[in-house]
Chain length 508, copies 2
């Protein structure tokens, strides 16, 4: 069954490093955009951050000046043209030359059907070394012993779904893991020390037991013991702060016009037995384990973050200008409805009630619309991510950025708590995948594809990523075939990582 | 087995209306508080809200001037003394005279072991009639047809766990259901009309399709269709707003010194086939259905609401005075640690990171402590509820109220979606129950007690409520017996409603 699918879709799939290999070759792509490869083959001169590379075992970062696609795709100029063809929409994957990505990770992507000139998704896959500072930290009473600890490696996968330009997603794909490395640098010894992290560096034994006498709660301190902080929460904090530093860096670079637009960021960090999945935006991660679905992220949209947005507008009305109201209405209020009673909800409500319409209710609601059409300030459909520092409300100078958060939600999965089989995978996908594929659709494809490959076949995870992208890619009339589920496909950029969680040879 | 428990605990249980009935009689209570019944038998002159009663089938509201306990307990002066005895801690229930509460609801309560003079819990159980306005609402184009709709009944159960005084809990127990009735009054026809609720009252057909042309998002309105609002979300909105009106009323009465302190509020409203459970505070509701546990509320504490509190402190630093910092530290920062690096987290973080200690970090953290010792502003351990309008930080004029929310979280359970058996129950309990009993403990007691009673035994749900309170009440050395789970008991006030969700004769 799968072979039939395989041969039917072979001409829609390309492995970057094998441009002349048989059926993967596309006949003659017909670019629909004015000059789809101009940016890819003749880029602007690269900014400073694109030049000095991390030592990358995934090969995703160094010297990618000639391409706007991830370097691990190893695209030739011809492959690049094919990757930017909005009509053919050939699915791109790394070359079939053994294990090109760590953990035998599978990856596939496809460009949008014309909604933007370039593929605004970006991806990164890395093994990153965090050097130990070898510095003796801590005071005389309680110190971190420098027992010759080595540095740490972490594995890293990142998907960046750009909007309003390709700059932010490109920058994040090249730099975010370096910011994570920077945040982890001071923790190398602490994370390898089995004792609980020190609360203070340097700290003394006295300091950790004696308390400040002037407790506002009265003579009895409400807080007699110190809170225990886990190693895991230090890694979470490091990732959270790395996102913030990345965002601040974009604000600086935005002034130099290198980073344009914004991006959602979904990253997975594997460190010391645990997988940390951090999400800021509307990309999505799930684990499929023995057929069960474990959600590893939540989406952040005007609908899911309505109350946070409304609360900010309520507490800081100056951020709304005179253009917006923090109240939500089920549709735009008409001037002629002044004095009538309309349904509304505010920052504290989940239900609806009627209120008498007053003059300020005629302003546009801060949050409006539903589903994919939901918007903050009638402008943007995601409420977390990186960049967007210059984003303004259309025909206005009102900035949108104060309502956007760069902080991810981090979920942690302990890989040591379960014996994984080769068919257990972590799937990271941009919204192009999830707009048309449910978790169950994806789990069914995982089962169908992986069961048709030997557990040690090095191409099984790439084949799965390709099948997921093809499944979501949409129907092409020219190609004359329809998707099995008969659904409409996504015309958006689609990018997918498939990360195997177990099985021999995975953790390389 | 249960009979053994029954006879062992019989002298600890009292049914209010049967003061002379055999083993329920307590030998001779020994009050430990200075004058435990003074307030109950000689109350201050009642405020206006205590006088005009709702027509109460549960008998909980009218004329309760002579008692500070729920009138459905029908306590005699002697029973009142017993109910306020901190040493004996006799469990109180409504009298054994048939179905004294709607739905055969079971109820039991016990006073604290001495932590406050009075039992600061309050309870209410009502059937409330909402009169139809019989008014023709709506404009010429789309109107609500007045088809002679009758009014609506809703069933209502409320638990109010007071703090810093009994006033707020008493006031809420007498008035909150009336505020809910007021909020529902304008919805009587709408809720009984199967068509979707009108967005605007009165509204015209034109108004619901034509849109304001000046959309800040550009020429394409981002919001072409109106959002559909459900009947259910109108009820949720009515309950949310009733909490807010109740809180505002307390602010007014606080000036007259009638409402003192604050209270958590946990209420259940049954209306048109659905049970709405609204919680503001650290009380808790679960459904036990066929042995499964369905949580029906979440607790709101400085720990669960840390990020909301910190965000408010960050956006409105004037609310912190110069006394508090919105940052959290794992323990109080010492002046001598200035310049060192300590673990912290801010309003956006769930993980921890190190920061260099600066002068303002020496302020007391807005949120501190863990578990039952967690506090906002070193003052209060719950972050939602009613009242507390005069609550100040100890030895300061800084108000705590801005950080407290009066809005409940409302969860909805559709009773028509499942055929309930007589052993399926909704349990509402104040934190005195849950501090020492897990959901599983409670479910086990549900199974043990209900299986020992016939399904039609009118006393089975009261017996269950008593068993739950007894189980949480704690160990009394004088009585010489220990609880089966060998746990320490709760010295707090404990109140429990047991609401049967099915079975013959329940819905009366």
């Amino acid at each position: 069954m799968l072979n039939r699918v395989r041969s039917a879709v072979a001409h829609l799939v390309s492995s970057g490093g094998t441009p002349g290999s048989g059926s993967n070759e596309l006949p003659t792509p017909t670019p629909t955009s004015p000059d789809p490869i101009a940016h890819a083959v003749a880029p602007r001169s690269p900014p400073a951050w694109a030049e000095s590379g991390t030592k990358a075992s995934g090969g995703a970062v160094e010297n990618r000046g000639s391409s706007s696609r991830p370097t691990f795709l190893k695209l030739s100029p011809r492959g690049l043209r094919r990757a930017e063809d909005h009509a053919g929409r050939v699915v791109q994957s790394p070359p079939d030359t053994g294990r090109s990505l760590p953990w035998r990770t599978g990856y596939a992507e496809v460009i949008n059907a014309g909604k933007s000139r370039h593929n605004e998704d970006q991806a990164c896959c890395e093994v990153v070394y965090v050097e130990s500072r070898q510095a003796r930290m801590g005071g005389p009473g309680k110190s971190i012993k420098d027992q010759g600890h080595q540095g740490l490696h972490f594995h890293y996968w990142g998907l960046f779904d750009g909007h309003a330009g390709v700059g932010a997603a490109e920058m994040a794909s090249r730099l975010l893991h370096r910011h994570i490395r920077e945040q982890l640098r001071g923790l190398v010894e602490i994370l390898q020390d089995p004792s609980p992290p020190p609360l203070c560096l340097p700290s003394t034994t006295e300091a950790s037991v004696s308390l400040e006498p002037s407790c506002p709660g009265g003579s009895q301190p409400c807080w007699p013991l110190q809170k225990e902080v886990t190693h895991e929460s230090l890694v979470v904090g490091a990732i959270e702060n790395a996102f913030q530093f990345m965002d601040e860096r974009m604000a600086r670079e935005q002034r130099n016009q290198y980073a344009i637009g914004g991006c959602c960021a979904l990253v997975a960090v594997y460190l010391l037995g645990k997988m940390y999945v951090a999400n800021a935006g509307d990309s999505r991660a799930i684990i499929v384990r023995n057929g069960d679905i474990i959600p590893m992220s939540r989406e952040f949209t005007p609908e899911t973050e309505r109350q946070r947005l409304q609360l900010l507008g309520f507490l800081k009305p100056e951020l709304l200008g005179n253009e917006f109201t923090h109240l939500e209405f089920p549709r735009r209020v008409q001037p002629k409805e002044l004095g009538q009673r309309m349904l509304y909800r505010d920052q504290s409500m989940t239900g609806w009630a009627y209120k008498k319409i007053e003059l300020q209710d005629l302003r546009f609601p801060l949050v409006c619309g539903e589903g994919k059409k939901a918007r903050v300030m009638a402008t943007i459909g995601v409420t977390r991510g990186l960049g967007d520092h210059n984003l303004k409300v259309s025909s206005s100078t009102l900035p949108v950025k104060p309502f956007l958060s760069c902080f991810p939600e981090v979920q942690v999965y302990d890989l040591t708590q379960y014996e994984h089989c080769p068919d257990d995978v972590l799937i990271l996908g941009t919204d192009g995948l999830w707009d048309v594929s449910s978790d169950k659709d994806v789990a069914a494809t995982v089962d169908k594809v992986l069961s048709s490959y030997e557990p040690n076949d090095p191409s099984r995870y790439t084949a799965l990523a390709q099948a997921l992208v093809l499944g979501a890619r949409g129907i092409s009339r020219e190609q004359g075939w329809r998707l099995p589920n008969n659904k409409m496909g996504s015309g958006d950029d689609i990018s997918v990582f498939v990360i195997p969680l177990g099985g021999p040879g995975s953790y390389t």
